[in-house]
């Protein structure tokens, strides 16, 4: 049976367009381990990771240093801390009921999206389960604080709508208030 090609990413590096493989969780975990094993040259691990995805070495070393980090974060779907550790896999397997093989073959970006959703789903369940009994021993400021924290987590997966203040919008606001 022919092997199915995995998802691809298009990358525009200063006008040159490259089609590279989107990393899987297995690729990301290998990169994590290479990073922790390289004492001096972390950049070398990053270069190796990107080369494995099909980006030419010349293009990688020509990247501005901060773009190297940004590119990797973008490919892994992680914008703060890049972490693909065993406990994350275990949490995903236990929460969604997926197998280890299924998870390691998953696109890293998709994995990260599902992982981030766990907190939101758990918080949404928690909000649904809040009862009057939970609040009886708490003062109002504390109740407010707990609810606001859980609510923030529950809404964390929904993208925020950006409002662009155009001339027309401002005019309509002014007209409404008059």
């Amino acid at each position: 049976m022919p092997k199915r090609a995995g998802p691809k990413e298009l990358v525009n590096l200063y006008g040159e367009i490259y089609e590279i493989k989107s990393p899987t969780v297995a690729d990301a975990m290998k990169f994590e381990s290479d990073l922790s094993n390289s004492d001096d040259d972390k950049a070398e691990a990053a270069v190796g990771f990107l080369r494995k995805l099909g980006l030419p070495k010349k293009a990688i070393i020509g990247l501005e240093a901060d773009h190297l980090t940004e590119l990797i974060e973008e490919l892994l779907g992680s914008n703060k801390r890049i972490r693909f550790k065993d406990y994350q896999l275990a949490k995903m397997a236990s929460f969604y009921g997926w197998t280890d093989e299924y998870l390691t073959a998953m696109e890293a970006k998709k994995f990260m999206m599902y992982f981030k959703a766990i907190d939101a789903i758990e918080a949404q369940k928690q909000i649904a389960n809040f009862t009057v009994a939970d609040w009886s021993n708490l003062k109002k400021p504390m109740r407010k604080e707990i609810f606001s924290k859980v609510n923030k987590l529950a809404r964390s997966v929904y993208p925020r709508k950006k409002v662009e203040f155009t001339k027309e919008l401002l005019e309509s606001i002014i007209n409404q208030s008059n």
Partner: protein
């Protein structure tokens, strides 16, 4: 599509504007390599070489006050984080 565009830093020295490219992975790697191998007496020379590879003429760099030179380097490496 993931897209990146090159950055250029500008700084003014005694009223004259100079442009410096943001360092690439190769620039940083080369600079780290030579900094590790050289002793302190050579460090200014290596810094000037590094800035020259980013487009700053050597005579301009040598004419700069030492703390101004390190301000430029810090600014560029701050961007690299």
């Amino acid at each position: 599509m993931i897209e990146f565009k090159r950055k250029v830093f500008e700084f003014s020295l005694d009223g004259q504007v100079h442009k410096v490219k943001a360092p690439s992975v190769k620039n940083v790697q080369d600079f780290q390599k030579v900094s590790k191998d050289s002793d302190d007496s050579e460090s200014i020379e290596k810094t000037v070489e590094f800035l020259a590879s980013l487009g700053l003429p050597k005579d301009v760099a040598y004419g700069m006050e030492a703390d101004h030179l390190s301000t430029v380097v810090n600014h560029i490496s701050g961007q690299a984080k």
